[in-house]
Each structure stands twice: as structure tokens, then as C-alpha cells.
């Protein structure tokens, strides 16, 4: 990897290598103290552990690009220890240890298209589509005509997620869910 980025090229989503770990830039800010030189203050999210660190770099400092690549893949199944995905064109299959994608896994349903992130050719994480559709497998019976704003109840979805839904939602209904916030969006007819 000869590729590297200077502080002025920092952007949100940029993937960089720091102390042997891949990070994505989630925040960057140009700062210049009163009588001093310029710096770039950043927040960096570890692509493997998800931990966020704060680092300040001198203007002009360079960081190596992280050796990462993203592939569009389809979710296959979960064997209890690993989640398995397949590239639809090459039919290549990869497995990611389940705990490392715990937050995303609850929205996975068979054949769902996701982006798998590879670091040094090893799959380390996935990015879900922003919205998924999933059927309600359990919720308290719907309260007819209750459209009061804000009132919610719990619903368990076929994909495994448990989310808050409005009171009028009934069992077996298909829902649209925002995977970034884990929030109910709408019923799908």
C-alpha cells in the first residue's frame, strides 16, 4: 500500500491505518490555536472493534490508507458461531464471526444484500442497506384507531430484531425499518 492521505484530504468515511489497525474517519476539524501552528482534530472509529478514539494530527501529517475493500454480498445463514455471506457473481463464500457483527446481525434475513468490508483480505464487518423489510412475529394485539403520537409498544420481527412500533401495528404485518437507528418507518402493504 503506497497510498496515504495528508490531513487536508481527511474526509468523513476515509479509511486509514493507524498503529496496525484500520479506522474510518467519523469527524475531522481544522484547528489553529491563537499563536500556533495548525492541526486537524479527528474522531476515528476502529473498523474491527467499533471503538472510537480521538486523535489530533499536525497539518501536513500523513496517514496510510487502510488496506480495505468492500464487496456486495448476500447473507446466507448463521451456524451459531459465524455468519456466512456469498458473492453473487463469483459464488465465493466468506464467514464473519458472529459477535463482531452483533449489532447488524439482528436485521439479517436470508438473501439480504449487504456490503462486506475486507481488511487485508479478511472479512471484518458488514454494512446493511439503510432500510429493510421484516414481518412482525409477535406483538400485543393492535389497538384499533389508536394513532396517538408517540405511544409505542414492543414488536419482535422475523429477522430477530425487537423494535418499538406504533400501537396500531398488528402481528404478521410487514414493516419497513431503518437499520441505522433501529426505528420503525412504516407498514408495507
Amino acid at each position: 500500500m503506497a497510498n496515504s492521505y495528508e490531513t487536508s484530504e481527511f474526509r468523513n468515511g476515509l479509511k486509514v491505518e493507524l498503529e496496525g489497525n484500520p479506522y474510518t474517519v467519523t469527524y475531522f476539524q481544522f484547528v489553529k490555536p491563537g499563536k500556533g501552528t495548525a492541526f486537524t482534530r479527528t474522531k476515528l472509529k476502529n473498523l474491527i472493534t467499533g471503538a472510537v478514539i480521538e486523535r489530533t494530527f499536525r497539518t501536513g501529517e500523513r496517514l496510510d490508507a487502510a488496506d480495505v475493500e468492500e464487496q456486495e454480498m448476500e447473507y446466507l445463514f448463521n451456524d451459531g458461531e459465524f455468519h456466512h455471506f456469498m458473492n453473487k457473481e463469483s459464488f465465493e463464500q466468506v464467514a464473519i464471526s458472529s459477535p463482531s457483527i452483533e449489532d447488524e446481525a439482528k436485521f439479517l434475513t436470508e438473501n439480504l444484500g449487504v456490503y462486506v468490508l475486507f481488511y487485508k483480505s479478511k472479512p471484518i464487518s458488514i454494512t446493511l442497506p439503510p432500510f429493510i423489510e421484516s414481518r412482525v412475529v409477535y406483538t400485543e394485539p393492535a389497538v384499533k384507531g389508536n394513532t396517538s403520537q408517540g405511544a409505542t409498544k414492543q414488536a419482535t420481527l422475523a429477522c430477530g430484531a425487537s423494535i418499538q412500533v406504533p400501537l396500531f401495528v398488528d402481528q404478521d404485518e410487514l414493516l419497513r425499518v431503518d437499520t441505522r437507528t433501529g426505528e420503525y418507518v412504516a407498514r408495507v402493504k
Partner: protein
């Protein structure tokens, strides 16, 4: 870029409050040129070139000549320019308020800037912020001038993010004096933080032309060593200095004040861009 009328109205209200406060305190508004002989004296300020001359990074040199000419308390609100500065709190073109109080020191200016910011807050229907005052070396121990970069790195990395409450920091290491007097081994200088944003910088003004010229030469040598062009020498400024009475001066970023008071997300949001 879409303009936000509410933020621009807030900016107008703040500007009106600033001028009202300055008029009430007996400050005289003195407009000075934007395109100047010397745009900055400090090592780390970069100027914008305008047809062979720099644009000012602050109105400091011209206002000091006005004070030396006997104008007394003076101020200016106007555009200033700093190249290579763009960010959430930085804008190449920005509005600076600078005021000078003759016969006073930094203690009086601390009271004044608190009162002025209070007036701006009240103009937006807010309560005046209550400032605490902290010595710089109580926040970060001094290193020698040779470690300037490391000192600033720690300041930006570890100290500044903690200055979220309204704070005045004072008593800088002597190698950060810029144009301030050095007294008892400390630069008689302070900075003002509001909402985590550095708003203002104040000096008890050094009046000795030989001392300031020596500082400019030293800064220019370091600039040349770093491959930067030296800042030109403003002869009229140095010639006027002996007539300048003892005074203290402060520069306040108006865009940043509006930003800090309104909680706007970016300095551009309070400017017409």
C-alpha cells in the same frame, strides 16, 4: 449555499449590541485599510495577496498608529483575511472586532470583554455567560520555546476540548508573547473561550519598537527556515510606536461570537457565502 435568515438576523443583533456597547464606553470607530503594507507580524499567520500587497490579518498596526496620533480609545469592526484557514471555526475571510483601551491593562480588558459578550448575549435574549479565569500554566505546564509544536499539540488535543464552560485563560509562556508585554516571565496576554470556541485574544501592548522589531525579525527568520516568505516591515508602524501611550488591546472574532451564542453548526452558517 442556502442562507439562514434567522442566523443573519442574530448576527445583525450582535453587531448592533457590540457597537452600542463600544459607543457607550466611549470608544471611537476608526476604519482602516484592508489592503496594507504588512498583514501580520506573527510567525504562524499567512496573508492573502491582493495585487502585490497583503490583506490584513487584523487591523492592529493601523489602529496603533491611530492611538499614537492621540485618538484615545478606538475600535474597528471589519473584514480580515487569513490564508490557509478553513474549517468549522475558521474562515479565510472573517469579521474582526478590535478595541484598544488607553491607560489600561489586561485586568480591565477581561472585565470589558465579559461585559461586551454579556451585552451581545442579552441582545439575543440570553443570560450573560459567567466566565471563570484560569492561568495557562495551571492547564498545561510550560515547555521551552523549542517545544512549541508539542506544546500546541497538547493544548489542542488535551486542554482545549475541556474548555467548554466560558473561560478566560491568561498568563502565557513568554515565547508566545506575540505583540504583548512580557512581565515577570509571563506574556501579559489572555484568550477568551465560549462554547469551546476561542473567541478573542488580548495583549497588554508592548510599546518598544526595538523589542517588537526584534520579535518580527526572529519570526521572519523562522518563517524563512520553514520555506515561508517573511512578513514585510511596516516602517510607519515602528515610527509611530514611541508616541503610543500605554494601552491594552483585544481582537474578537465576530463570526465566532455569533456561532458560540447561536450554536450554529459552522462558521459559514453565520456569514453570507
Amino acid at each position: 449555499m442556502t442562507l439562514d435568515p434567522a442566523l443573519l438576523r442574530a448576527r445583525a443583533a450582535v453587531l448592533r449590541a457590540l457597537r452600542g456597547w463600544l459607543d457607550h464606553q466611549g470608544y471611537l470607530e476608526v476604519p482602516t485599510p484592508v489592503r496594507v503594507v504588512c498583514g501580520a507580524l506573527e510567525e504562524h499567520l499567512e496573508t492573502v495577496d491582493a495585487a502585490g500587497r497583503p490583506l490584513r490579518t487584523s487591523p492592529e498596526l493601523a489602529l496603533k498608529r491611530a492611538i499614537a496620533a492621540g485618538l484615545g480609545r478606538v475600535y474597528e469592526i471589519g473584514p480580515c483575511f487569513r490564508a490557509e484557514e478553513e474549517g468549522v471555526h475558521h474562515s479565510l475571510e472573517f469579521t474582526m472586532l478590535e478595541w484598544y483601551r488607553v491607560g489600561a491593562g489586561t485586568d480591565e480588558l477581561m472585565d470589558e470583554v465579559e461585559s461586551l459578550i454579556g451585552a451581545a448575549a442579552e441582545a439575543l435574549g440570553q443570560r450573560p455567560p459567567a466566565f471563570s479565569r484560569r492561568r495557562v500554566d495551571s492547564l498545561l505546564p510550560d515547555d521551552g520555546p523549542g517545544a512549541a509544536d508539542a506544546w500546541f499539540h497538547r493544548w489542542v488535543d488535551a486542554v482545549e476540548p475541556q474548555l467548554t464552560a466560558p473561560t478566560i485563560v491568561w498568563g502565557y509562556p513568554p515565547w508566545q508573547a506575540a505583540l504583548a508585554r512580557v512581565r515577570d516571565g509571563r506574556a501579559d496576554r489572555f484568550e477568551v473561550y465560549l462554547g469551546g470556541i476561542e473567541l478573542a485574544n488580548a495583549f497588554a501592548e508592548e510599546g518598544d519598537p526595538a523589542e517588537l522589531r526584534a520579535r518580527q525579525d526572529a519570526a521572519n527568520l523562522r518563517r524563512c527556515a520553514a520555506g515561508r516568505a517573511p512578513h514585510p516591515v511596516d516602517d510607519a508602524f515602528y515610527a509611530a510606536l514611541p508616541a503610543m501611550p500605554r494601552c491594552a488591546g483585544i481582537a474578537l472574532g465576530v463570526d465566532r461570537l455569533v456561532l458560540a451564542l447561536t450554536g450554529a453548526p459552522h462558521i459559514r452558517a453565520v456569514q453570507v457565502r
